[in-house]
Amino acid sequence: MDESNKISLFQGKKGNLIKISSISLEGVMRRRLLDLGFVPGAIVEVIKKSPLGDPIAFRVSQTTIALRKEESMKIEGELVNHE
């Protein structure tokens, strides 16, 4: 995998598509994220930041989910180019 393409969801810019490769979270939060579709291999779109910069809304498995910085920093993936 091209290392330069690897970013966390938190680093994504609006409109970026990121293919999840790893989730470095444990416990209930990890299970909750999995349930919502943040599974390895899923493609996540960065939608927008809240007015105060945190949380950030993401589009995953056809729904919009907001995550805080603490969590979105720990979800990594590969930047997928726009078609």
């Binding site: 416990g27 209930v28 939060m29 299970r31 909750r32 994220l33 999995l34 349930d35 919502l36 579709g37 599974v39 390895p40 291999g41 899923a42 939608i47 927008k48 809240s50 007015p51 105060l52 910069g53 945190d54 949380p55 809304a57 498995s61 729904t63 919009t64 989910i65 907001a66 995550l67 805080r68 603490e70 969590e71």
Partner: protein
């Protein structure tokens, strides 16, 4: 072989990776199903939700729109409730006349008429006419905003502030609900999934003044704080004082949330995800009718259930005499030294104690005590009202401390019942009582002693 042994056996061959694999494979099957079963005919996606979000969660417009929405809900509630409230009060007053005639016709003893009509009837109908109209407006309006999908956006906008004190953005919603009714707001804290943040929302909701406390806040602000102003300026000062009180309540909410998440609730697991569903036009009548029926009605029924016995008790205390003074007055005398320490008096303390079932009856009980009428009393003119207070030695500090006590003191009976129902814990319910009570004593105490020290009173 029993289930526990099977569990251990399964755990022995399992791996921590298993849950990930299961969910991942469920999701890949979901995707496969969508690939074969769903097709998209339009190339351009529907962007209505994105466009609305660009406004509602905008850096510039997000917060102003929120404040305007809150303002509109308040305005609708207060302005819209006034007329039906006074109509209900008049109706109940008119009915009381007939009920009294029936009692006279039957030659019922005075004490029976006192307990049932002047106590029970007047107390419960008071709560109904003060509570029902605002709730019948507030809750449906709130439900409409909820069903439209706007409320999750408020939580999205506000989350950063709440994260700061260890709370959840959705607490902004339970707080907004608290402006209507703390008891209903405690129930609505279910929207917060994470246990720690939910407990914070439940324990601090009381610091948002509910509908039952607005009345006393508005009256005292305009009578004492804005006394030296006239016309438009008076309204401005009154509003300013109320906003100040509400902001102080929010500061206390944040402070208590922060303190609790650093102490008692430290280490309780927490997780945060917030779904932003698409905006959907709500079914207007369905939403209005359902929320009136479920929320407003159940809250009202519960309030009356607690208010009715309290109304009887109040009447009994005010009308049974030991020596030549009523029990009520004995209690006032007992509480007076303590009240004086906080810049209040025995009547005020007793009104808040007997007002535990519903904040709406605090002011009527207070007037009943001051005028020694023996039954819940309403005063028609604000000037008369102020004179009554002045006759009993009130200053602006007294008024301010009554407002602070009202803002900070223990939750009403209905709210406490709901807190117990939601937490299923006597310990947390007791803390929900204790924390505000301590604050309601400490803050007015400091204010009064400072004012005395500085020679203001």
């Amino acid at each position: 072989m029993n289930m526990n042994e099977l569990f251990s056996e399964a755990q022995a061959i399992s791996s921590p990776q298993l849950r990930d694999d299961i969910v991942q494979q469920l999701y890949s099957r979901s995707r496969e199903l969508c690939d074969v079963g769903v097709s998209y005919t339009k190339t351009k996606a529907d962007t209505r939700t994105e466009k609305l979000d660009a406004i509602f969660t905008s850096k510039i417009w997000g917060f102003p729109i929120m404040l305007i929405m809150l303002g509109v809900v308040f305005y609708l509630t207060i302005a819209g409730a006034n007329i039906p409230s006074s109509m209900l009060a008049e109706f109940f007053g008119w009915l009381e006349g007939y009920i009294t005639s029936v009692f006279q016709f039957l030659h019922a003893p005075d004490w029976l008429h006192g307990i049932l009509v002047l106590g029970l009837y007047r107390g419960s109908t008071w709560v109904i006419s003060v509570m029902l109209p605002p709730m019948a407006i507030f809750f449906p309006t709130f439900a409409l905003l909820e069903n439209y999908g706007y409320l999750p956006r408020v939580a999205f906008n506000m989350d950063r502030l709440f994260k700061f004190v260890g709370a959840h953005g959705k607490q902004s919603l339970t707080m907004a609900m608290g402006f209507g009714c703390n008891a209903a707001a405690v129930m609505s804290s279910r929207i917060i999934e994470s246990p720690r943040e939910r407990m914070l929302a439940i324990l601090t909701n009381n610091f948002v003044p509910c509908n039952g406390r607005w009345g006393i806040l508005i009256v005292l602000a305009s009578l004492f704080m804005a006394a030296n102003f006239t016309g438009g300026f008076k309204l401005l000062v009154t509003t300013g004082v109320i906003v100040g009180i509400v902001l102080f309540g929010i500061v206390v909410t944040f402070f208590v949330s922060w303190a609790l998440s650093k102490t008692l609730l430290k280490g309780v697991p927490t997780h945060y995800t917030l779904e932003l569903p698409p905006y959907r036009r709500p079914k207007f009548f369905d939403t209005v009718i359902r929320s009136s029926l479920t929320k407003s009605w159940t809250v009202l029924v519960r309030a009356v259930k607690v208010a009715a016995p309290a109304a009887i008790l109040t009447w009994v205390l005010a009308n049974i005499h030991i020596g030549d003074t009523s029990i009520l007055l004995h209690m006032v005398e007992f509480l007076d030294p303590f009240g004086k320490m906080l810049g209040l008096d025995g009547y005020i303390m007793l009104a808040f104690i007997l007002g535990l079932p519903a904040n709406e009856i605090v002011l009527p009980i207070l007037l009943m005590g001051y005028l020694s009428t023996g039954s819940l009393t309403e005063v028609d003119s604000l000037v008369d009202l102020k004179q009554i207070f002045l006759d009993h030695g009130w200053t602006w500090v007294t008024a301010l401390n009554v407002m602070l006590f009202s803002l900070l003191h223990y939750p009403c009976g209905t709210t406490l019942v709901n807190i117990y129902k939601e937490t299923k814990s006597k310990k947390w319910t007791f803390l929900a009582f204790l924390i505000p009570t301590v604050l309601a004593i400490v803050v007015p105490f400091i204010v009064y002693q400072t004012a005395k020290l500085l020679g203001w009173v």
